[in-house]
């Protein structure tokens, strides 16, 4: 887990080491992602204790496959939410990219898989750029604009697909194998997703562009005054998110049996929920993409766990809802505590001086 990637947390060594009287334990407890990681570990542990088959080779593979696509989407969405925006159109974007994948293979079964990946990532980036343009150039709230493009993109998908659906037979076997074959028990598409999550995590925690996104989300006006190119950064976040959605769309077409006009509907709120559960504040400025990925993993794992525990499948969604609310409440308590600690610390420093 990456530690201390929330914006306020400068590396402890550089900030007045004497003033820091925190033990390693309390620093660990301050990690935003801790609750969701603990919840995930507890969930898996309890489920395995009751039903040992849960962590069998096939069981793990299923868990990873289920989580892969939501994980990628959650990482992209986290970047957007950290800048205090939101993208509700991702379900429709994913639908277009998944159907585009099907169309490319159906048109020419010999098309190289790499070409399809590149084309769909580009398509996703383009759709993300449309959202980004509307949000940054026209300066319209992202919630409203992406609600609009949710409908527009879905309508285009309907227009394009009509009643057409592409099934597993329409694509090359090697493409379908991406979500069947495993390396060390981990499906290939999951490895792709993990690599992407790691790359984005590095950008967000180490590079200037990533840190700027936190600054923008904490206070857009202050970020602009500070000289951060706010519009360009937000635009880049939307494009990056679009590219991730495009990639997820291709993986979706590999993982699932059919793609058509309704692929990816109602995915948006699940993904936002995963991001929130993963400890990303809904009003931007804090949280990490790794947290969002773990949140996605937790949400998709619950479904499998409840099945393995033989709990009535109808309870699954209610449990997910309760979990989201719990996550928000925990986040709230944590941020209140952090605020109090900051205040006490500054009071101490004033007294020391």
């Amino acid at each position: 887990m990456s530690t201390a990637t929330s914006p306020g947390a400068t590396p402890p060594a550089t900030v007045a080491p004497a003033a820091r009287r925190e033990s390693p334990l309390s620093r660990l407890l301050a990690v935003r992602e801790l609750p969701v990681v603990v919840a995930l570990v507890a969930l898996v542990a309890v489920t395995t204790a009751v039903n040992p088959l849960f962590l069998s080779g096939q069981g793990v593979k299923d868990l990873l496959l289920n989580a892969t696509i939501v994980m990628m989407l959650a990482v992209g969405q986290a970047m957007i939410i950290i800048t205090r925006n939101v993208d509700l159109s991702i379900g429709s974007m994913l639908g277009l990219c998944a159907f585009g994948t099907g169309t490319m293979f159906a048109g020419d079964s010999g098309v190289p898989i790499a070409v399809v990946f590149v084309a769909m990532v580009a398509l996703g980036g383009l759709l993300g750029a449309v959202n980004g343009m509307l949000v940054t150039v026209a300066r319209v709230p992202a919630l409203v604009i992406t609600l609009g493009t949710l409908y527009v993109f879905r309508g285009i998908n309907n227009l394009w697909a009509g009643g057409t659906q592409y099934f597993a037979d329409d694509r090359p076997r090697a493409f379908g194998a991406l979500s069947v074959d495993t390396v060390l028990g981990i499906p290939i598409i999951t490895l792709v997703a993990v690599a992407v999550v790691a790359a984005v995590a590095v950008v967000m925690s180490r590079l200037r562009a990533g840190r700027d996104l936190y600054a923008i989300g904490s206070d857009p006006d202050a970020a602009a005054v500070f000289g951060i190119p706010v519009l360009r950064r937000v635009m880049a976040a939307f494009i990056a998110n679009g590219m991730l959605v495009g990639l997820a769309g291709v993986l979706y077409a590999s993982r699932f049996n059919s793609v058509g006009a309704t692929t990816g509907t109602e995915l948006e709120l699940t993904v936002v929920a995963a991001v929130v559960v993963g400890g990303v504040a809904i009003f931007g400025g804090s949280g990490t993409v790794v947290g969002a990925a773990v949140g996605a993993f937790l949400l998709t794992t619950i479904t499998s766990s409840l099945t393995a525990l033989r709990i009535d499948k109808f309870w699954q969604q209610a449990v997910v809802g309760a979990l989201i609310i719990a996550a928000i409440a925990i986040e709230r308590i944590a941020s209140l505590r952090a605020a109090r600690k900051l205040r006490e610390q500054s009071e101490r420093e004033v007294l020391d001086v």
Binding site: G148, Y151, I156, R332
Partner: protein, 380 residues
């Protein structure tokens, strides 16, 4: 993303009547009238009682839920869980009726379910103080999940004839559904509360800032709590209507309706940041979406493609004013520059004394990062 409060109508020196006839909501009403006229002229079979009937039956759920949603968004919050409450209410009605409850008792139970669901939202948002966007994403899943727990994969369809027939019955030969009388009552009720009571004015203040609302003398937490309860009750009533109209109680009834409702409310001129919007504008917007959809469907445009219309309208409705503002700003700057003979330094960082520049700025959203960005470009 701080508050976008232009309060144009209040600042411009125009009479109240003019303000009333020229605001966003009024514009929506004009667009609706034009759309209905155009559809009646250009599409055969549009101007008929049959059209009125089906069109209204289709928009009733959105229209009803849009009322409490308008008040909630005006006060600066949001509720994404409404469609799930519709589903939960529908599932409850089905299960209780199948269990042998009488219809009135089952319907009353649905309303109670709505009160409780709304109170849960209200408690978490108003009392605990959690962000409404996140909370209602959670209760969206929770209430829909509970609907599944209640009714599972089943569907209950054998509702008494007199009830299902009442849901679609018309007033004589006008084609207007009888239910519409109740809907009008609800719309008028919410319109009066928002526009003609001190509570409603308090909601606008609340949308601007909590502090402002407190100074106006509104009990912020209590107001928010009751708004969510109202949304729960109206959604539960829509659940009953939905069940009877399609004579089917299922857990997935009205899935995704929340975004349709919010699209209608925003199209009606309600600012997503709160503090601005009118009930007539929202009613006109919801009817406009309904009319366009119905008209285009009569014109044999495929149903699924029609959602493009909703999306485009929504984008255009927020983009249009911005384009207008931008043009106005450019023209104003040109005028200012022409008026100042030595227009050396560009108007960057308007000083406190520069009255015209400040009044210009105050018309635009405070989150507007344009001046900084523009300066950056100029310096290169």
């Amino acid at each position: 993303m701080s508050e976008t409060i232009a309060a144009e109508t209040a600042e411009r020196p125009s009479s109240r009547l003019r303000a009333l006839l020229l605001n966003r909501g009024a514009a929506m009403v004009y667009v609706l009238i034009v759309a209905v006229l155009l559809a009646s002229i250009s599409i055969d079979r549009f101007a008929s009682p049959l059209t009125v009937g089906f069109l209204l039956l289709d928009v009733i759920p959105v229209l009803l839920i849009a009322m409490p949603m308008t008040l909630i968004i005006v006060s600066g919050e949001i509720d994404l869980s409404v469609a799930s409450i519709v589903g939960l209410s529908s599932a409850t009605l089905g299960v209780l009726w199948a269990d042998g409850w009488s219809m009135p008792a089952a319907m009353a139970a649905c309303v109670v379910v709505g009160v409780v669901a709304g109170a849960v939202n209200g408690f978490l948002i108003a009392i605990v103080g959690l962000p409404s966007l996140a909370v209602t994403i959670g209760t969206l899943a929770l209430f829909r999940g509970l609907a599944l727990v209640v009714i599972g994969d089943d569907a209950v369809a054998d509702f008494p004839r007199e009830y299902t027939r009442f849901a679609i019955s018309k007033i004589g030969a006008t084609g207007i559904p009888v239910v519409m009388l109740g809907v009008v009552a609800v719309v008028v009720l919410f319109g009066v509360v928002l526009h003609l009571t001190s509570f409603g004015r308090g909601l606008y203040a609340l949308g601007h800032s909590r502090e402002a609302a407190r100074f106006v003398g509104i009990d912020v937490d209590r107001a928010k709590f009751w708004l969510y309860v109202a949304a729960g009750v109206v959604s539960a009533v829509v659940g009953i209507y939905w069940t009877l109209r399609y004579s089917s109680a299922r857990s997935d009834n009205a899935t995704g309706l929340e975004l349709t409702v919010i699209a209608g409310v925003l199209l009606g001129g309600v600012s997503i940041f709160g503090g601005r919007g009118t009930v007539p504008g929202v009613v006109a917007a919801v009817l406009l979406i309904g009319t366009l959809n119905y008209g285009l469907r009569l014109d044999r445009v495929s149903d699924v493609v029609l959602i493009i219309v909703t999306g485009t309208l929504l984008i255009a409705s927020v983009l249009g004013p911005r384009v207008g503002e931008a043009i106005g700003r450019v023209r104003h700057e040109r005028r200012v520059r022409a008026a100042l003979p030595a227009a050396g330094p560009p108007p960057q960082a308007p000083a406190e004394g520069a009255a015209p520049a400040i009044s210009l700025e105050s018309l635009h959203p405070s989150s507007d990062p344009a001046p900084g960005a523009a300066n950056e470009r100029k310096q290169r």
